[in-house]
């Protein structure tokens, strides 16, 4: 059962009609295959056209889609032999940020990312993907291990933001994020970050200060949520669609601004319609990027990473060739 977004309603209506027809034709000898074919083609066209013209606000909704593949899905579909590691050795284990050793098509890596959870219970366990200081400190610990054992670091970013709560502040949320960013920049091994869903502010940057930053086609990445921006600048969260537009949150906009390096294509209708195809495309992209970075010295890698961030925003926007994995 697909859960439809508001703007997908026309598609939903068509798909419901198709399902109805199918059910009705069961056991009857009326030939409706021509009608079915016509409706299916119409529905597919509509989906393609809807997704070709998504607004930044619609993309935000796709990026937050409850059925969108998450970290745990990618662990299953993209990587082998995942060995999860837990705890920051100071305070606790934060399941909003997961990580551990993993193998990507025969290559040993360190995998770190946000997990939002799927159902109510797991969402609570993973705190909706909102990391606490201990989560970021665990990430720092894993990056340190990766550096010492020559493992490239692959991060999958998917968070609405770091957790805004009393205990997070008490334990130094800001410091943990700053240090995690610093740990990314200090890595002697290659690092590739991919925004797979939402890239929410500092909580995302802390795992995305890499030399290569990828984004799934319908992911969003921003300094503040469109609702947050709207409620501050427009004084009402209802202006979120305008805020999303103005802030430039889509992969396509960010590639143009030079903030991300590559867009990983999603299946028609978004990643949630075909998780396996999305995983395939992500795996292909990560493999290519890691190939391209292999053989570079720690010094070269740090230099590439540093230059990348020192230069961002200083030049006129460049047009990035859009590459698609599907």
């Amino acid at each position: 059962m697909i859960s439809y977004l508001e703007f997908e309603k026309p598609v939903a209506a068509l798909e419901a009609r198709i399902a109805e027809l199918r059910a009705a034709s069961q056991g009857e000898d009326v030939d409706i295959s021509a009608e079915l074919k016509r409706l299916e083609a119409k529905s597919a066209d509509l989906l393609v056209n809807t997704y070709k013209a998504l607004t930044p606000w619609q993309k935000t909704q796709v990026a937050r889609h409850p059925a969108r593949p998450h970290f745990s899905d990618y662990v299953e579909m993209v990587f082998d032999d995942f060995v999860p590691l837990g705890g920051d050795r100071h305070f606790g284990e934060d399941e909003a940020i997961l990580g551990g050793f993993a193998t990507l098509r025969g290559r040993k890596i360190m995998l770190i990312g946000h997990e939002k959870g799927r159902d109510t219970q797991s969402r609570i366990r993973h705190n909706f993907g909102m990391g606490k200081p201990e989560g970021y400190r665990k990430a720092i610990r894993l990056m340190d291990i990766a550096g010492r054992f020559g493992l490239p670091v692959v991060t999958l970013v998917d968070t609405s933001g770091a957790f805004p709560g009393i205990e997070a502040e008490e334990r130094g949320q800001a410091e943990a994020i700053a240090r995690s960013t610093e740990a990314c920049l200090a890595l002697p091994t290659p690092m590739i970050a991919t925004i797979v869903g939402e890239g929410g502010s500092g909580g995302a940057v802390a795992l995305a200060s890499a030399e290569r930053v990828l984004m799934l086609e319908h992911a969003v990445y921003s300094v503040i949520s469109p609702e947050g921006c709207a409620s501050i600048l427009w004084r009402t969260a209802e202006k979120a669609p305008q805020a999303a537009e103005a802030m430039k949150v889509t992969a396509q906009d960010l590639a143009e601004l030079g903030v991300i390096d590559r867009i990983v294509g999603e299946p028609i209708g978004g990643a949630h319609r075909d998780a396996a195809a999305t995983a395939q495309a992500l795996g292909d992209a990560l493999e290519e990027e890691l190939d391209a970075l292999s053989g570079k010295s720690a010094k070269q890698l740090r230099r590439i990473r540093e230059d990348r961030f020192l230069r961002i925003g200083e030049h006129k926007p460049r047009r990035e060739k859009r590459r698609s994995g599907t």
Partner: protein, 282 residues
């Protein structure tokens, strides 16, 4: 300027009058009326309740550096890169902020000495669009760090900001890793990086260069945190504890080394720079 003065000054037949309506100021802490000259002499700290008022870049630099310091030129950056517009155009907001400010953006850098110790000092000014961090703030922070590396001296940064400048979208967020590249370079060069956290320091500024100092000094009562208090309250739906996210609270939780009254910041910095002198390294 009171409305009466405004009306009076707009009448061509009356002599224009500079009313001394800034003779008195109200303390934002205890609402006591203070004699402006006395308030200034006390470094904009209320003599009654010790509330530390927010101060501009030049005032701050003058309080920290020895006379004769040199301002660094503000780096050129792309302006309004997103052509952002909310209820107002960002370009107009910038123009307005500049009209009310001595500097072109919210971060000003100077090179000089602090009680004779060579230092580069960067000051974030809350009065300029809430001190918010965009391309200009990031570039100025980098320029200050580069100057410290060149002069082989310490880098002192006074932070005061609501966070990232939303009108520059993702580019403002990218200033976090950008600034962090420079704090790492200072560290590798064996140079001290000291942060003075002033009221308020929140958001992406706290979550990057404000929390990466070798030593953190906070001004009494300064609001310092990652998430805004309203956001936290909306998330947890509980009353926030007394003194939450204030300098003293951060000190208690190990996030700052010391809470230092404004009058002693200069001498404290001098002492720290003395102990962390790069010449002593290696």
């Amino acid at each position: 300027m009171s409305w009466l003065t405004r009306v009076r000054n707009s009448l061509p037949f009356l002599e224009k009058r500079e009313t001394p309506d800034n003779l008195w100021v109200k303390c934002p802490g205890c609402s006591e009326m203070l004699f402006t000259r006395e308030y200034e002499a006390n470094l904009y700290v209320c003599p009654r309740c010790e509330h530390h008022g927010r101060i501009g870049a030049d005032t701050r630099l003058g309080q920290i550096l020895d006379p004769g310091y040199a301002l660094l030129p503000a780096p050129e950056v792309r302006e309004d890169p997103l052509k952002f517009r909310d209820s107002k155009r960002y370009a107009d907001r910038l123009k307005q902020a500049r009209a009310n400010n001595a500097h072109p953006d919210a971060f000003t850098v100077a090179a000089g000495t602090i009680e004779g110790q060579k230092a580069v000092v960067g000051v974030q000014d809350f009065t300029f669009m809430g001190g918010s961090m965009g391309l200009a703030v990031g570039a100025a922070f980098v320029a200050g760090a580069e100057r410290a590396l060149e002069d082989k001296c310490g880098y002192v940064v006074v932070t005061a900001a609501g966070g990232a400048r939303m009108q520059e979208g993702i580019l403002s967020l990218m200033q976090m890793p950008k600034a962090t590249v420079m704090t790492r370079r200072l560290k590798e060069a064996g140079l001290p990086y000291i942060v003075v956290l002033a009221d308020p320091t929140t958001g992406g500024v706290t979550a990057s260069y404000a929390m990466l100092g070798d030593v953190h000094i906070a001004e009494p009562g300064a609001l310092i945190g990652f998430a805004g208090q309203r956001v936290i309250q909306e998330t947890i739906r509980e009353k926030l504890p007394e003194g939450f996210q204030r300098a003293e609270y951060l000190h208690e939780h190990g996030m700052v080394d010391m809470v230092v009254p404004r009058a002693e910041i200069r001498s404290t910095l001098a002492k720290l720079l003395h102990y962390m002198s790069p010449a002593e390294a290696a």
